[in-house]
């Protein structure tokens, strides 16, 4: 990034802000296609400024938008044709709810310039939220959770070493998105401060590891293992901790009971992870899953 002049940085910023004209935007896109560092500068600006979208009210698009998107990406029609010749056409797949009548652009009210402040901005934002179908609080909460580390710190001390609750989760992915149970394991050393927070979505068995403390020594990697008395040996869930946030689907091959009762352990391995699929150190951090967000 050091190779980039202040002009380039300002150009990237204005691209993200949106004030460049069409030719300049095309120029920036050409630069991005050739220069990864420049692309990263633009992306950093887009992320920084994108936070402003927390204050933008949500507005439902019309239902037919989804049909057009599906067609455009080439999704097959999920409904098999019925054999009844005069049957009504099959109902559309789980449809987005209908849009609010003529979703109007919600205008912030004009206000005298001299008295502007954040309070007004927030008050307007609240007003838009009331009008909007969805609340922006959802998006704000999303970003807040990413920012502070997935789950509230107050969850951590008491959550340490709970009796492993065996949750028999009926894995029936709902057709309509519904919050599914979330399981959390705090991986730590001897009751010390947490090093990783593992979260598992019960419905999808997807897991996410958030690095909250530990950094691996140079030349070493942390590797996550699933240890279960149902399995003959620890199973690797991959190298973690290289980034603040690691997300993988590898738990999908284990049954729910195994996932819920297993011990999750982190070992120190050579850079890139264990070469032979076996752990080479004693676990440095361990934890078990507890349910943090009950399914509804």
């Amino acid at each position: 990034m050091m190779a980039h002049s202040e002009d380039d940085i300002a150009l990237a910023a204005e691209y993200a802000l949106g004030t460049l004209d069409a030719d300049e935007r095309a120029q920036v896109e050409t630069m991005m296609s050739r220069d990864k560092d420049f692309t990263a500068i633009v992306a950093a600006w887009e992320y920084k400024l994108g936070i402003l979208n927390q204050m933008v009210g949500s507005i439902e698009p019309p239902a037919e938008v989804w049909d057009k998107i599906k067609t455009a990406v080439g999704h097959a029609e999920p409904q098999p044709p019925l054999l009844l010749p005069d049957a009504a056409p099959p109902p559309p797949p789980p449809p987005p709810p209908p849009p609010p009548a003529a979703a109007a652009v919600v205008e912030p009210a004009a206000a005298p310039a001299d008295t502007s402040n954040v309070i007004r901005l927030s008050a307007q934002a609240r007003r838009w939220r009331r009008v909007a179908t969805f609340t922006t609080a959802i998006a704000a909460a999303l970003v807040a959770m990413i920012a502070v580390g997935v789950y509230q710190p107050d969850l951590l001390p008491d959550a340490i070493r709970p009796k492993p609750r065996v949750q028999v989760v009926e894995v029936k992915p709902p057709a309509v998105p519904a919050p599914s149970a979330q399981y959390v394991a705090v991986l730590q050393k001897d009751g010390g401060s947490p090093a990783f927070i593992l979260t598992v979505d019960a419905a999808t068995k997807n897991f996410t590891v958030r690095k909250v403390g530990a950094a691996a020594e140079p030349g070493k990697s942390f590797e996550l293992w699933l240890i279960s008395d149902k399995l003959p040996r620890p199973r690797s869930l991959g190298v973690i901790g290289g980034a603040d946030f690691t997300a993988r689907p590898v738990l999908s091959s284990y049954d729910t009971d195994t996932i819920n009762t297993a011990t999750y352990a982190v070992t120190v391995e050579q850079a890139g992870g264990s070469p032979d699929g076996n752990p080479h150190s004693a676990p440095v951090f361990t934890g078990k899953l507890i349910e943090s967000v009950p399914s509804r």
């Binding site: 004209d21 887009e46 992320y47 204050m55 698009p61 008295t115 970003v143 998105p177």
Partner: protein, 180 residues
């Protein structure tokens, strides 16, 4: 839906999971539509842009990096960039369609209002708040409404070149304030 779930859905979409794509759409469409409608101010254009944006999200889900951006910000950036491209190419989008200016951001806001904001947003607004009042408005109008320099110049009754200088200076000031 939590950010972790959205990250998961995007990862599944990257592998061609159509059901995950639908869940992702349902969870994010209203936010993205709100963002582009503010900029385009026309339902028909906003619908086109949102379609294109989700097609791009479907095609580029594999490029999403959760360590660089939150899922919703990444998706909103894709949609917003499409919207800006469209308005920049449609020079006939006229200034008469301007909304009233959104007012912003200098003083210390009340604690209640602040509690609704994330730390990141507070920090950004603090940096925006350090700009001169006109420039605060300039930056926020540009972002929220997607206005061009010409539209901003008309709004602020200032030559386009002055707006250009202000924008550049403002962005560099924000950068310094954020420690980018």
């Amino acid at each position: 839906m939590t950010p972790a779930e959205l990250v998961w859905l995007i990862a599944a979409v990257a592998k061609g999971d159509e059901a995950a794509f639908e869940r992702l759409y349902v969870a994010t469409r209203a936010k993205l539509f709100g963002v582009v409608l503010r900029i385009l101010r026309r339902q028909d254009l906003a619908e086109e842009v949102i379609q294109e944006a989700y097609v791009k999200i479907w095609n580029s889900a594999g490029q999403f990096n959760p360590s660089l951006s939150s899922p919703i910000t990444w998706m909103a950036s894709i949609a917003r960039n499409r919207a800006i491209d469209v308005v920049r190419k449609r020079t006939e989008v006229s200034i008469e369609e301007e909304p009233a200016a959104m007012e912003v951001a200098a003083d210390t806001p009340d604690p209640l209002a602040r509690r609704e904001m994330t730390e990141e947003l507070k920090r950004l607004l603090e940096c925006v708040g350090r700009l001169e009042p006109d420039r605060q408005k300039l930056v926020l109008l540009a972002y929220y409404n997607g206005w061009s320099r010409e539209q901003l110049a008309a709004k602020f009754e200032t030559p386009v070149n002055t707006v250009k200088t202000w924008l550049r200076r403002s962005m560099l000031d924000i950068r310094e304030c954020l420690g980018l």
